[in-house]
Structure formats: C-alpha cells, structure tokens
Symmetry: C2
Subunit: 378 residues, 2 copies
C-alpha cells in the first residue's frame, strides 16, 4: 500500500482527500474514480482495485461514485459498502478490495482523479456529464464501459464522443464478453479497449483493468468497438427467436454469423474507419457468442417466439424485466430508422427483420425466411 | 424433368446409362455423381437432386455411389434406397428425390459424370482415388465435402490436393456449419465453397448446392476453407472442457474466440495465401459456433472434463463412439507435431494445451490456465 494512504474502514468519507503533504511520487501517481456502482461498475472497481494496490504508478485508493440508495434496513448503500467492502445490493457476496471507497458525492468523488471510468446506465450520462463540467482535473483521461448508445438518423450518439465533447477530455471505450457475475467470480474473460489515437493511454487503461483472468487487448478503432457493444443486442434478439423456434445449431450459427456481418457492414456504413479485424476481438465475435448463449435480450426474444408473437415485447418486458425496456428492441428500431434514412434497408435483411418482428409486423419465423434465398446474406 | 430420362423405380440399375441417342443439349449437360452415401452424403445428394431436376444445364439424374451393405433384413442397402428413395440406414425418414440413383459399382457410378462430389470418411479416400484413376471423364470437376484431413510435419495433407494430384483434376471444397440432420429437415444453413483459381467453376458448384434454405458463398481460399473444417474440431474439444468445468458463457466465448484466432494463425503459418476474411464465413466462425454448441467432439470433451480426466479419451471414445476415434483429438495431436517441428508451440497455447490435456499430461482445468496471463492470447 502506498505510504500515507489510509484505507477507510467506516462510512465517514466525505471530504476525504489525498494526504496533506504528498511526496512528488504521490503527485504523479494516477488516481482512479469509477463513476457508477451497479453490477458491472462494482466488478470494474474490483478489477481496478486489485491492480492499483500492486502498481506503484497508481494511487491505491479507487474511489467509486455511488448513486445513493437507502437499503431496506434503513442504512445508506455507500455506508454499508464502506463498512462491508461489498456492494450488497448489486454484487452481493463479492469483496471489492479494501482500497475501494464508495462516495455518494459525485463532485468529491472526481475532484482528485485523473482517470475516470464511466459505467452507469446510459440514460444517466447526460446529467452526470452536465454535473461534471468544471469539476474535473485538467489532465483527466476517461474510459466508457457503457453499452447501448442511441442511434439516430443523424448518426449514432457515441457515448465516448459525448463524454469527450461535454468534458473536453479524451475518452476510450472497453467492451467485450463481460457478464459481470462471471468476472466477479474470477472466471476467464476477455475485453477490448478501443482508442482513437493515443496508444499509450490505451495501454495504461489495459494495465489498469487486466488481471490473469481478465485479458485485455487494445485496438485503434473506437467506433468499431463501441458500436459492437450496442449492435450485438440486435443479434441476440435474432438468436432468441431461433431458440424459440427450436431451429437447431446450424441455423443459430448462421443467424449469429449473418448478424456479425451486418454489425460490421453497419459500422462501416457509419464510419469508414472501422476495421474488419475489430470483429475478431472480444468486443465482436466473443460478445456476440456470450450474448446469444445467455443474456436477457436472447431470453425475452425466445419467450416472444415461443408465444408466436401473440404476446408483445411490451408485455413480456413488463413481466420479465419489471418494466425496463429491452436494449436490443430499442436499438433495432434506431438502426432501422438510420437504414431507412440512408435508403439501404435491403442490404440489412436481418436487422430489418428483427425490427419488423419486434413491432409485430412480421411473425418470429420471418427471421429465418428473410435469410432464405436472400443474396444480401452472402 | 429432362426428356428421355427415366427415373428408375426399382433396384435394377447396374449398367444404366444416359439415353442411347442423346441430343446435343443432353451431351453438354453436367452430370453429377456423389461418391459417398453416409449421413452427409445423403443430404448432399438431396440438395443436389432438388436442383438438377429444375435446372436445364444439369442432367436430372444424380448418381450416388453406395458402399454396399447388407441390411438386417437381408436386403442390399442400394436396392432399398432405390426402391424407397431413402437412405434407410444413414438418413432414415428423408426422401432423397426420385432422381437420386444409388449405385454400388464405383466405376459405373462415375463413368458418365463430369461433376464428382466426394463425401466419404477421409480414410477411404486413398482407396477410392486409386480405384478411380483412368476411370473418369477427361473434363471432370470435383468438390470435396470431407472434413478432417491429416496434418503431418511435412504439412497438411489437404484432401482437395490429394484428389487433384491423384486424378489430375481441379477440386474445390465445401465446408460450413453443416449438421446433416438439420439440413435434411430443411432448416436454414450456410456453407462456404473454397476454390483455387476458377471462380466460374466455384459458382457452378454453388448453383448445384444452393437452395432457399442452404445458402452458399464462394471464396478464393481453398486452403483456408479446408483447414477450417479440420481445425474447428480442436476448438470444440476446448469448448467441451469449458462446459465440463461449468465455467460459464464468458469463458466459453473467450475460448471459442481464441480458438478461432489460433485456427487463423495456424492456417496462415502453413499457407501465406490464407485470408482473414475466410474466418468470417460459414466455414469459419459459424462452423466453430455450431460445433462448440453441439457435436460429438464437444460432448466427449465435456464428459472427459466432468470426470476430471480420470477416464481417458480412449475409454470415453470406446463407450460413446463405439470405438471410433474423435477427430479433434487426432487433429490436436497432428497440429502439435507440426508446431513442435516448426518450433512455434508457444504461439498456440490453446492448441497446445488441448493436446496436453487429451494425452493426460495436464488436467482439463489447464484449458483456462493456459490463457490466463498469456500474452500470446492477445
């Protein structure tokens, strides 16, 4: 542990700061704050904290901004986290590392950090970024772990771009086959960091996240990596339909392959800089595989197909997701608006058909029929 | 149906020939013979027969060389096939098309054909090719559907090359996510044809195989396509270990991705002409997915891992495969010999570890450990 840095053992953290007389070494060390404390945010903090405590170029402490909640016991989530070293609500049973400090005050959580990890639900990002303007250090680097950007006819609203523009900072992305609970259990996983220009910064992020069981690669294709994290949900909906129709593994493999192909084509349609090789990385093929084997997009789509489309997605979402909207359904709609606007719907039979099925214009079996005899598939 | 061509309704087929006074059109039509009558061979004949009967540039009749067997009823397999139009032993319940003619006489089956489809177990190929020398037409084109070539330290023995060299003919390959029973049930599937130079010939083969539910692409990368069909079995063994260890979908996706990456690297090590893009085709990613979801390589490897390696592959093969050897285990051994010979085992931690586990030198859990912290994975 770095000299002079106390790991707090209680909930009284507000106003906690770096030591009053830091050494030169302390000053040049990177200080990390994780913005977000859900399931994936907690796992990210665990990964990072296991590294900062071992590497002298990082401050041991990882601060984690917690959207404060009152637990059924009447206690505050952040206080319980700091006492138990667990996110008892979103990642129970997993110790995050004693150097993780939960902090419900966003301004305080970021004020000393020069490395910000964004990992909140994407609908919170606008409010968070507005709040952060003028509050962060001048030398801050950011990374976004947020999947599920919005895509409009003007183009995709990349979350990394949003962060960069709002806060005037560089922002990388980290995507991949990352089922949080499996990484929390330290099972082998991989991830891909996408960066725009500065490879050294990307390598620094990789150093911060990588553990023996969490393998991280970097690729200079931020748009390709970030789009994968969103578009794969549309493919997972298609795969769920195939599962519900009990079409077998050939068909499922074909649909997943065609889906990955349309992800690639769509990404290149939006950004000519996108590289094919990105789709061989964890963010591409591996995330498609993991999401099409498990995941709630696949699951709800399977239920939809088993009901032959007689129960709407709205109804199934209300039942299975407690009213949350399914990301893949939203993205399929957005992608279709873009394709219609650009007059190239016919080049994306799978993306198009997923949307038509989701809105009830076609039956689930159309997911297979759209491929049959369709040369755009080839 | 083409004029003058009778579809036989009984078993008396030997010596059956094209009509005695063929028109010019008849003479220029392509005539197809399928060499092999197992599960996949029968499905291939069904696909082909559904096309030849509709396309005027092919003779309706598809001849199928059957390795003759006597059924428990005492009848000959070829006779029952021609009477019932089903391969009652290897694809029961599926009508092959009345224009499929089973023929137990290899010389007779090929003598009029100018398109030969090879789809036998690979260990029969040497004998068959020896038998065919001097018996085939001068203008014959061939395609191999045979997965599982032998790989020796001198290099892989590509079955397409073997056919080309032994018979002095051009030979394409067709590979992909092709679980025969699912294609027989007319469920959506895809395949990839690899060719060396002549794209027109490859397109002709695609025309012969493609149906609305069987989508075929062509790529100029015969070695890449053919190697996929063999190497994917090694990846399936690795995926089976992960299933047996109950590591979850992240890990399985990671292992499949790393496996596909090693398939690509190994293929390029052997043939610099191999293209990355081939691995996005059905023969690459889709076949890896289908084989790692189902398939007997995966299944036996899962059983092996569940027994913590306490029961050998030999034992499990004897029990689960009636003494047949598992292709992936054989291929893993062959691939390792090549890598050792070329002194680059350390670049292929997954292929290497699959072999070490199969021969009992490492426990099944090594499949995950070999990836952890291994920069060759990245």
């Amino acid at each position: 542990m770095a000299p002079g840095l106390e790991i707090p053992q209680n909930g009284h953290l507000e106003g906690k700061d770096i030591p009053s007389s830091p050494t030169d070494e302390e000053v040049t060390k990177s200080k990390v704050t994780v913005i977000g404390s859900g399931n994936w945010g907690s796992v990210a903090a665990k990964l990072i904290a296991s590294n900062t405590i071992k590497m002298s170029s990082f401050h041991d402490e990882v601060r984690m901004w917690v959207f404060e909640e009152t637990l059924p016991t009447g206690e505050k989530l952040s206080e319980v986290m700091n006492r138990t070293n667990e996110n008892v609500k979103y990642l129970p049973g997993i110790k995050l590392g004693k150097n993780v400090v939960a902090d419900p005050d966003l301004d305080n959580a970021v004020k000393d950090a020069n490395m910000l990890v964004f990992v909140t639900p994407h609908q919170f990002m606008e409010g968070i970024c507005n709040e952060l303007v003028g509050k962060i250090r001048g030398d801050v680097e950011a990374i976004s772990l947020i999947k599920g950007m919005e895509v409009t006819t003007e183009g995709p609203h990349m979350i990394s771009t949003f962060i960069s523009q709002h806060l005037g900072i560089n922002c990388c992305v980290l995507m991949g086959a990352n089922i949080a609970d499996e990484i929390a259990a330290e099972k082998l996983s991989e991830a891909t960091i996408g960066y725009r220009e500065n490879k050294e910064v990307a390598n620094r992020w990789a150093q911060l996240f990588a553990t023996p069981y969490f393998l991280v690669t970097t690729v200079q294709d931020i748009e390709g990596v970030e789009l994968c994290g969103t578009l794969k949900n549309v493919v997972a909906i298609a795969a769920g339909f195939v599962d519900g129709l009990e079409m077998g593994n050939n068909t499922k493999a074909a649909i997943m392959r065609i889906g990955l192909k349309e992800m690639r084509s769509f990404s290149k349609l939006l950004f000519s800089s996108v590289r094919d090789s990105t789709f061989f990385e964890s963010c591409g093929i591996a995330d498609v595989i993991a999401t099409c084997l498990g995941g709630r997009n696949r699951k709800v789509a399977e239920a939809f197909a088993r009901n032959s489309g007689q129960r709407s997605f709205d109804e199934l979402e209300a039942e299975l997701l407690q009213g949350q909207k399914l990301q893949g359904v939203l993205t399929a709609g957005e992608v279709n608006a873009v394709l219609r606007h650009r007059k190239c719907l016919e080049l994306f039979p799978l993306f198009r058909t997923v949307h038509e099925i989701c809105i009830g214009h076609l039956p689930p079996s159309a997911i297979v029929q759209c491929c049959e005899n369709n040369t755009a598939m080839l």
